[in-house]
Amino acid sequence: MSIMSYNGGDVIAMMGKNCVAIACDRRFGIQAQTVSTDFDKIFEMGPKLFVGLPGLATDTQTVAQRLKFRLNLYTLRENRAMKPKTFMSVVSNLLYEKRFGPYFIEPVVAGLDPKTNEPFICSLDLIGCPMVTDDFVVSGTASEQMYGMCESLWQPDLGPDDLFETISQALMNAVDRDATSGWGAKVYVIEADKVTIKTLKARMD
């Protein structure tokens, strides 16, 4: 039994042209038993900054709360919105603090720079090693499947609508090949002037 696959769950983030998208499945289970079908793993940290936290569900909730704590204090102290790149460093710091008793989370960050609207995505491992990419990042129990889907479907400079289609297909088909993932999906498309959230009804099994 692996701790990272005890609850199941996945997150993908993709880079588009002046936009980013982040998506997650909605299953919360305890090994084989599905307990909830509305457990989202993506949390809003700012108007244009989102973090996905797949892994052990208790840590998903705790890390989301602790990150918001740090981000709120930063915003109040510095009187400015946190940049996605800086947020990545905050996540990294939080995770490495627990180096020898880690949170069982492999986060994904997606957002636009508050001033320049430059798109940004990255993922981190459970002890805080950051990885910035310019195409896509995946994390979760179906990560192998997601890598395969993203590698085939992703192209650079996709517009918001095409990016939505691409990320949705990548996530849905990947989680269908994993027993502990699925039961619906939620997709966030983040553009300079708006954020579109869509809930997908996929194979409910």
Partner: protein
Amino acid sequence: MSERYSFSLTTFSPSGKLVQIEYALAAVAAGAPSVGIKATNGVVIATEKKQKSVLYDEHSIHKVEPITKHIGMVYSGMGPDNRVLMRRARKLAQQYYLTYQEEIPTPQLVQRIANVMQEYTQSGGVRPFGVSLLIAGWDMDEDRPYLFQCDPSGAYFAWKATALGKNFVNGKTFLEKRYSEDIELEDAVHTAILTLKESFEGQMTEDNIEVGISNSSGFRRLTPAEVKDYLASIG
């Protein structure tokens, strides 16, 4: 022995003042003059570094020191107290970088240093710092200059131009007349040196003043040769 010092040495007087802080400010006002001016494209800080004997090796020790690549500091008051604060400031700046992978914004550094200074007015067995600091920084994100003063009380002020130390009242009056909103860094250095000259006894040379500038290229102390050029243009 140590139980005797668990109370704060900075206690209120009946008139509502913290006398130790007043005395600390007096120590500052008796210290060597320092000056700071914010220009449109940078900040200049300068101080008098008069040595009591010709035997002093003037260029081995500096009063104008960098805290980070883009923030520098000068003081008026007790040198040893400044050293402690400088070490703390540098450490605080690096701690910020460790967490955020981003250079600390000047106002954030000033708030943290001022907090340290305040702690020493409300802790057991310690006395307030006998220095006022002038912190000059350039914000790379916002592309703008900052000039702050930190007092022994822990209060901090953002200035366009100010003077500290001996004769600071005259210095500030001089700056009030000379300062303009659109002053450029070159003129600001000029004006800073002139302000120091107002309270200077004797001949001002490149060996007995120190000047530092902070702009988009970062913070640096001017070399004696550069200071000499500015002095030459004053006459």
